[in-house]
Symmetry: C2
Subunit: 504 residues, 2 copies
């Protein structure tokens, strides 16, 4: 074995040993420990953010907020464990009179084993060593080995030491560094599943390594997204332009939910009045900044260069660079719907950074066919007249295409588009912006490839725990060996489905 192989072997074997005890720790105890991690992160906030700022240039406000979000994620999963629903306990009693006779069968979820996590560049806390993959895997009862992102190694080390203080065994959270660590980590026989947040190229490479295993294991990759925004004719141009420019340039555009495509009605005679002009003016007034790493910086410049040379694509506006060293400028381009369609699939690819394409359509009815050709996305957003946002807006049936009255105001404008978006993206947003992902029970952060390698699963929110769980069914099993979640007297009070009936 080479040096890095030996290191990985040691870290994974220690994690597996620690994981054997952790998986046998009752869920309620795991919940208390996760809350202890949340406390530890907040206690060390003043030490954590400056180290991350030096490595990522993301600034105090953002980084303090991100540590808070990271701690909140630990609290959410403590709540998930106390609820008990993630065990998915199901009990079918025996039916000796059935044809054929039915045995007693009981099923619940168990931890999958050691989870390898690849940290992301753009969230040094919330999608890194103590991020959503790590906390959901720990909650599931798995040990974790994180491959630190090269962009913030010191932040990674410091975070790991803070988290380990609150864990019953520091080996539950392994940490390895360096590009070369990725291969041996995903190939290790004791690693049972892999989580990844990063680029399509990086995710594809890891998938290739996993597929070479004698036992290809589950791979949950979130590979980024172009996040189309569809602006309906009834929307307010000034509000859309301001909101879009802010979402586009937040964090120097370095979010997997960054809005990279915005479809707007074309102004009269194709001129720059209306949406296109307002968006150009708003982006021209923005300021860029320094990107996370030199690699990301160079990739952004190359992507913008490629865009500006494409047929039918015009530069619409460029923001200011700002005063930071190596700062990049926000840039938007515009293109007709026809030229955009001709430029697919390339024009539908994500450009990581503060750039987007404004796609101008003449007829709303032309949009569905083009939207169907977009790659899978984490989000899709609709903007319409402000008063129809929120709950309880109207009574339009979503299947009633014949009720659509063309380009009038109101939600009915979107009737032909909504079914297309439901198949395109994992999260649909009305009159909002895709950046900002709430960490809640209902959140879904996923979508068809390349948004995710496993579109049935999410990397954010309570359901993220499911990626690290595998069911075990027990047939005519002695009560002595049944997990408490599956006993008839339900000593832990978890939700159980008994003979087909869900009981909370």
């Amino acid at each position: 074995m080479t040096g890095i192989d030996t290191v990985i072997d040691t870290v994974v074997e220690r994690a597996a040993a620690a994981g054997t005890k952790w998986r046998a720790t009752p869920a309620a105890e795991r919940a208390t420990i996760l809350e202890g991690v949340a406390d530890a992160l907040l206690k060390h906030l003043d030490e954590l953010w400056p180290v991350a700022d030096a490595e990522t240039h993301l600034g105090e406000v953002r980084l303090r907020g991100e540590v808070g979000r990271t701690a909140s994620q630990f609290r959410l999963f403590a709540e998930v464990l106390r609820d008990g629903g993630s065990a998915e306990a199901v009990i079918d009693h025996a039916d000796p009179g059935a044809t054929p006779p039915r045995p007693d069968v009981r099923r619940m979820n168990h931890p999958v084993g050691v989870v390898a996590v690849f940290a992301a560049s753009n969230f040094p806390f919330a999608f890194s060593v103590a991020g959503g993959d790590t906390v959901s895997a720990l909650a599931a009862g798995c040990a974790v080995v994180v491959k630190a992102h090269e962009g913030h190694p010191e932040t990674s080390d410091l975070t790991a030491s803070v988290v380990r203080q609150a864990l019953p065994d520091p080996d539950l959270l392994g940490l390895v560094h360096g590009f070369d660590a990725g291969g041996p980590l995903v190939r290790h026989p004791l690693v049972s599943a892999v989580g990844f947040t990063g680029s399509l190229a990086g995710g594809t490479a890891i998938k290739g390594l996993i597929d070479q295993r004698p036992d290809p294991i589950p791979f949950y990759g979130e590979l980024g997204s172009v996040n189309p925004v569809i602006v309906l004719p009834s929307a307010d141009a000034a509000a859309v332009a301001a909101g879009f420019a802010a979402s586009l340039t937040l964090g120097v555009g370095q979010f997997c939910t960054n809005p990279g495509l915005i479809f707007v009605p074309e102004g009269p005679d194709g001129d720059r009045s209306g949406f296109e002009g307002a968006i150009g003016d708003a982006v021209a007034a923005t300021t860029g900044g320094r990107m996370l790493t030199a690699k990301i910086h160079d990739g952004y410049l190359r992507a913008v260069d490629r865009l500006s040379g494409r047929a039918g694509v015009a530069r619409l506006a460029t923001g200011a660079a700002g005063t930071a060293a190596d700062a990049v400028t926000p840039q938007v381009f515009s293109v007709s719907l026809e030229a955009f369609a001709d430029g697919l699939p390339e024009l539908g690819e994500e450009c990581f950074g503060p750039t987007a394409i404004v796609v101008k359509y003449r007829n709303l009815s032309d949009l569905p066919a083009v939207l169907r050709r977009l790659p899978g996305s984490l989000t899709a957003t609709v903007h319409a007249a402000a008063q129809v946002g929120g709950q309880g807006a109207g009574q339009v049936g979503v299947q009633g295409a014949d009720q659509v009255g063309g380009q009038g105001a109101g939600p009915e404008e979107a009737a032909d588009i909504v079914p297309v978006l439901e198949r395109l993206a994992g999260r649909l947003i009305w009159n909002g912006w895709p950046t900002g992902v709430a960490v809640t029970w209902a959140m879904h952060h996923g979508g068809p490839w390349p948004a995710s390698t496993a579109p049935a699963h999410t990397s954010v929110g309570a359901a993220a725990i499911r990626r690290w769980l595998t069911p075990v069914a027990y047939q005519d099993w002695p009560e002595a060996f049944l997990p408490p979640e599956l006993r008839d007297d339900n000593p832990l009070g978890v939700p159980q489905r008994v003979d087909g009936h869900l009981r909370t």
Copy 2:
């Protein structure tokens, strides 16, 4: 395009068009239609089984039973749809006072799109055109295109015509034939997920094709299993031997749950008294039969040949061939635990057919280390003193290894083995046999590779529907466009998780 490409293209496009209406059909209506399919299958039972018998040689009793099981699966999924829990509706109301403010987010499952299903050789009904993959996908709201198994093409055609009579659109169930159809089917851009039941080699090939797609889609393959049986010293040798021989030879051993390994205590001085002798006698008294296809027949003979030549492996017993044309004989081999361990991984591979290896152990404490080296399995079975089977047997804590009293009678004998089995197999059976998979809410038919390509999922039972569903989250979405499952007034009465609390 070649001829087969054109055929596949037409069938998939028609399925996709039919699927667009089907996904918009309310779940309660889909339930009624599934019940109509169950009725149609039973109505045509007298026509269905003889066609299948001519192609598979499985006999009237088995095939009538299998059509019944197939109809039951349609009824179970009608029940699943009426329950509504598979929608997994989650509602988080907005919290404008949170930091940062939380939007209203609601999530539920939607159908993934057109599902390609590869039918199995060994269940011409229950895992074929109208099998578990098809019914769970139809229940999810997906259109299905089945690649018929070459072993029963006429059964496939007849089944499809019966099912289509009960569907609102015959194009919802496409059917294609021939080995060459598989590639274009899994490569088709409108196919969104693939289900497969078959061999490790076949599944690996399909996985390779899917991985070459520009958008690798989910692959749910059940690739077979060696299904270890662990016989504890307290078990009754005569009962174990009789049950094992029956399970081994059921359906000429052609089940993915066939018990291919049985670990038994070695008799005094290694002689043939006790378990080994009883198993040899029981298998010698069995009769084989004709296998499903010539390919399976040849594969069985090759596998048995390979086994008989391996170091330390002795032929223990051979059953009778019986009178059927091309009938094969059941065969069992025996080997010491040490020689078995030396022969891994090859000795842990599945041999499809009525053959198994009897592995003799001297000390129960030697077993866990060897069991940990076995490949993932659909099932693992424990046999112990008969009186401790079933529910309510004892009070032994599963984590209490220090409470284990060695090889005495009672469930405590299994204390060190149970945690190993929980990581080895998807279904654990006590004092029973793995053949026979109940179609119920709690069933799990899956396991680590190669039992399954997706160990979090099952291909049998109510949870099988989840493979064909993908979540969509709606953020601040107008009520006019919200699916009824996500409305606050819950008009369909589905289980909802509201602000973290599960409500049934």
